[in-house]
């Protein structure tokens, strides 16, 4: 056992492999937050008047809100006035080809392993790479444009498709939804915008790599995805971040809208800097993600692999408004050292014959705490709603914690709601068996963790599944309970 623990410490204590800083000149807004800063951001981005008003409304709402304290996470208070709310790479002209991109940025991407140069060769991945709040490169746009699919940065969408943005922005996550969503609404810098027209099946996986770069810059992404009637889109989001001492706040908002017969698949691999072995540094990932199945037969599916961040605090949710609509949530949350995660989902059944499925796998190692918090709510008019939830936790070592907080609220008698949860460890017998077959302990653990997570991994798109498997192995290789 002690031998095993040593291996865990050796391996789980490994340094963050993506820690580096790229030196690009940045344009920073002065630290602090007030109406002036918001006007500054809005003006910088050349935004229409209504959007500025909306931001200001959000800011005023935010000022009246209190920081939420209910989550099972602990962190020193955030001084919102010491953060920078705007940072943009200095060169403002949009590059027309890859060659025009700052070589420094390209080296950054190369280190991250983002295949920017090879993208065009790569099968079906269009990358809208976001570096510190302003989109630097967008590709495959023309091909998508042929089908009428809009895939661009939020700033561009505000300029070029203001009607769509105005119609849907804040329609799923209102500007005053919660503390961090209000903050985001007030100061959001950029993000991705996707619109898939009726009946179109998006032929490739859309993907954005988020990356936090400037020190002391909270990153406030805003993503809006609209799948019009009968359309389909799969969206990938993945992130890595450089090593820093100071905590960095990330408060993004993601809104998904699936109209009649539409389907949105949203996958995330999150591997931000988790802090060092003593829990110093690391990203605060406080994100509001929500989708709405607006029309009948719509479907939204969230898949997430959360291995990074000092604190992960998010609940990708689905509002099942349309009859026969479907919501899914597949999650792997892995915490190590001093990481904390409080994540889960909300499934709000409003329409008739709505179905939801939740599969959550959490793995806690080191001194970390991992919580699943979920809500399944069946409203009075949701006839024949169906939910199945499964939350499995795995503990590695006895200094970590696994927590489950599932809320089930049922107000209709025809509902069928099932929830089950288990907590287990990597059994010595399993390890012994694998050892005895000649598989070293480290690999055996990776194998077992992969097996434990398989049910979720198989819902990831191919490219992501491979990356996620590697991530799990890197984050945990050799852990034994």
């Amino acid at each position: 056992m002690s031998e095993d623990l040593k291996i865990i410490e050796e391996v789980t204590g490994s340094d963050y492999k993506y820690g580096f800083v790229s030196n690009i000149e940045e344009e920073l807004a002065p630290p602090g937050l007030n109406e002036e800063i918001i006007r500054f951001i809005s003006q910088k981005k050349n935004e229409p008047e209504w959007l500025l008003e909306w931001r200001l409304k959000a800011f005023r709402a935010w000022q009246k809100m209190k920081e939420p304290k209910w989550a099972n996470i602990h962190y020193p208070p955030i001084d919102f006035q010491s953060l920078h709310y705007y940072a943009a790479p200095k060169k403002q002209q949009r590059p027309k080809s890859l060659d025009e991109i700052d070589p420094e940025i390209r080296r950054t991407f190369e280190k991250l392993g983002i295949p920017l140069e090879e993208q065009k060769l790569l099968a079906g991945v269009a990358v809208d790479a976001v570096l510190d709040s302003v989109s630097v490169a967008t590709t495959f746009k023309e091909k998508l444009a042929e089908l009428g699919i809009i895939f661009c940065s939020m700033s561009e969408a505000i300029q070029e498709h203001p009607d769509l943005v105005r119609k849907y922005l804040g329609s799923v996550v209102p500007y005053n939804d919660n503390f961090y969503a209000a903050l985001n609404s007030a100061v959001f810098s950029d993000g991705s915008f996707v619109y898939v027209p009726p009946g179109v099946r998006c032929p490739m996986e859309l993907s954005t790599y988020f990356r936090i770069n400037a020190a002391k810059t909270g990153q406030f992404e805003r993503t809006l995805i609209i799948a019009d009637e009968g359309s389909y889109v799969s969206y990938l989001e993945g992130c890595t971040a450089p090593m820093r001492d100071e905590h960095q706040l990330h408060a993004a908002v993601v809104e998904l809208i699936a109209l009649k017969d539409a389907e949105i698949k949203y996958s995330t691999v999150q591997n931000w800097y988790p802090g060092d072995k003593e829990g110093k540094g690391g990203i605060y990932n406080f994100v509001t993600k929500r989708g709405i199945c607006k029309g009948p037969n719509a479907k939204i599916s969230w898949t997430q692999v959360e291995t990074g961040s000092a604190i992960t605090w998010k609940y990708p949710s689905v509002i099942l408004l349309g009859d026969n609509s479907v919501g899914e949530f597949y999650s792997i949350a892995l915490t190590n050292n001093h990481q904390q995660a409080d994540t889960g989902t909300k499934m709000i059944h409003i329409g008739k014959n709505t179905r939801s499925r939740i599969v959550s796998k959490s793995i806690a190692a080191g001194k970390s705490n991992n919580s699943y918090r979920g809500l399944v709510r069946v409203l009075k008019k949701a006839e024949n709603a169906r939910n199945y939830s499964q939350c499995d936790s795995m503990l590695i070592g006895n200094r970590c914690g696994a927590h489950t907080f599932p809320y089930i609220e049922v107000e209709n008698k025809t509902a069928t709601v099932e929830h089950e949860a288990t907590v287990s460890k990597i059994g010595e017998d399993m390890l012994f068996y694998l050892n005895q077959r000649g598989i070293p302990t480290e690999e055996a653990v990776a194998l077992i963790v992969n097996g434990f997570s398989e049910e979720v991994l198989q819902h990831l798109p191919m490219e992501f599944a491979i990356e996620a498997r590697k991530l799990l192995a890197i984050s945990l290789e050799g852990s034994v309970g």
Binding site: H403, I408, T422, V423, S424
Partner: protein, 457 residues
């Protein structure tokens, strides 16, 4: 009453406490643990006030309609001439009538010492210091700072009983609060129960009201210690009438190899909140919690349980079920904590709910908090309706649909209490609950036509 607003519900009840503290000298306050508890209760209440649905632990339960009545603390000295024949067997009755202890109903029983808390409190306020060990234990498991209703209970501390079981008694102990009053009555009771090593006892905690006109609100706090290898069966009966409200806070502390088995039967009281926690403090302790709610009309049952595994090799298992009809609401929150030192823990929990009406509500939250890795913990929760295939099957066998429903509901419910060790009590509970199911499915009139053997034998 500096910080307590008397205009808030129930707060007017505290004026006597406030006066007693005002009149106490610093020496009295220093030597009298009961006065100290009252003061702590008042202070805690002044800080927090009574809970609202905004408090996480009181989410879903709106107390407002139940606490708004102009309650009075018991004033009548009237005693209950004889014990109403509620239960079908002989018991050792420890009875409170309109909030006052009724020692005349209790005949001396071997192996059990019953002490009136009121007597101790009054004695302490006269001569102060001469208190035994067990008296000091009041407030040890549940402190006023834990919970607003424990604080209220401490602030109003007076009536109650201390039970010390030194030898296994031959009959169950019937711990009952009975009320009969023309005006809304607030009954505040405190119990301390200690089972000596190797003893076994059954305690039935019952709430009854004989008057149908005015509501009775019970606030009962019980602290229970199980010494090595002792065994307790604790049965909460909450199948009285709609005017009977109760908040019951219970904590059991278990030592090595002790066993506890709890049954909570909620089927009739207008509002019940049970906050039940079990601490498994030493190795190989074991607890089993059973709960059943069969609710109709606007009844509300709120079960909060917490099992704390603090030592290795302990076991806990929990089964809570509910059948909810009309506009009734069932709330379940089950917590399991496994502390880092509690390796080799086995903890199970399951919660199943059936909704019978579109206005019925079920809120459930099975919660696990695990800090040890060598454990086996599972929980499951379901909410649904009767399986239509099963109903159809019974119909093909000639049972009318309502009868099929009752048969299936009964089978669903009986799992909770079929292990109950005292047979006459089990049969009685079964009859009470079966009648209720027939009423709910509206079969009362045809009852005689239905030839079903419900008695579990």
């Amino acid at each position: 009453m500096t910080n307590l607003q008397e205009t808030k519900p129930l707060m007017h009840l505290l004026s006597a406490t406030f006066d007693s503290l005002q009149g106490a000298t610093p020496e009295q306050l220093e030597h009298n643990p009961f006065l100290q508890l009252r003061k702590r209760g008042l202070d805690a209440l002044a800080r927090t006030g009574l809970p609202t649905p905004k408090d996480e632990e009181w989410k879903y339960l709106n107390l407002a309609p139940y606490i708004r009545h102009p309650y009075q603390l018991p004033t009548s000295r009237e005693s209950l001439p004889h014990l109403p024949q509620t239960l079908p067997m002989a018991t050792i009755p420890v009875v409170f009538f309109n909030g006052l202890f009724q020692p005349h109903l209790l005949s001396p029983a071997r192996g059990i010492t019953v002490t009136s808390l009121a007597q101790l409190v009054d004695k302490a306020s006269h001569d102060g210091t001469a208190l035994g060990e067990q008296e000091h234990s009041i407030g040890q498991l549940l402190s006023p700072e834990d919970d607003p209703f424990v604080a209220l209970n401490a602030a109003l501390l007076h009536q109650g009983a201390l039970l010390h079981i030194t030898q296994t008694p031959s009959q169950p102990i019937y711990l009952a609060s009975i009320t009969q009053s023309g005006h809304p009555l607030f009954v505040n009771l405190r119990f301390a129960i200690r089972l000596s090593a190797g003893t076994a006892a059954t305690v039935i905690l019952d709430l009854r009201t004989l008057s149908k006109t005015a509501p009775a609100f019970h606030n009962i706090v019980s602290e229970i210690w199980l010494e090595t290898e002792s065994a307790l069966t604790l049965i909460f009966l909450q199948n009285d009438t709609a005017q009977n409200y109760g908040v019951l806070t219970t904590r059991i502390a278990q030592t090595a190899r002790s066993r506890s088995r709890l049954y909570t039967i909620t089927a009739g009281n207008g509002m019940v909140r049970n906050t039940t926690s079990v601490q498994l403090n030493e190795p190989e302790a074991e607890t089993v919690l059973y709960g059943l709610s069969i609710l109709r009309d606007t009844e509300v049952a709120d079960h909060h349980t917490a099992v704390e595994h603090l030592a290795p090799n302990c076991q806990s298992s929990e089964l809570y079920k509910s059948i909810v009809a009309d506009q009734a609401t069932n709330i379940f929150n089950g917590k399991i904590f496994v502390h880092p030192e509690a390796q080799q823990t086995n903890a199970y929990q399951s919660n199943h709910n059936i909704l019978l009406s579109d206005d019925a509500r079920v809120y459930t939250k099975p919660q696990l908090e695990i800090f040890a890795d060598d454990v086996r913990c599972t929980h499951g929760a379901t909410v649904g309706q009767l399986p239509q295939e099963a109903v159809f099957y019974l119909q093909t066998r000639g049972l009318p649909e309502p009868v099929a429903d009752v048969l299936l509901l009964h089978a669903f419910a009986a799992e909770v209490y079929e292990q109950l060790p005292i047979e006459p009590l089990r049969v009685w509970i079964d009859q009470q609950l079966s009648n209720r199911l027939f009423d709910i499915v509206d079969l009362a009139a045809d009852r005689k036509l239905v030839d079903l053997q419900f008695a579990t034998s």
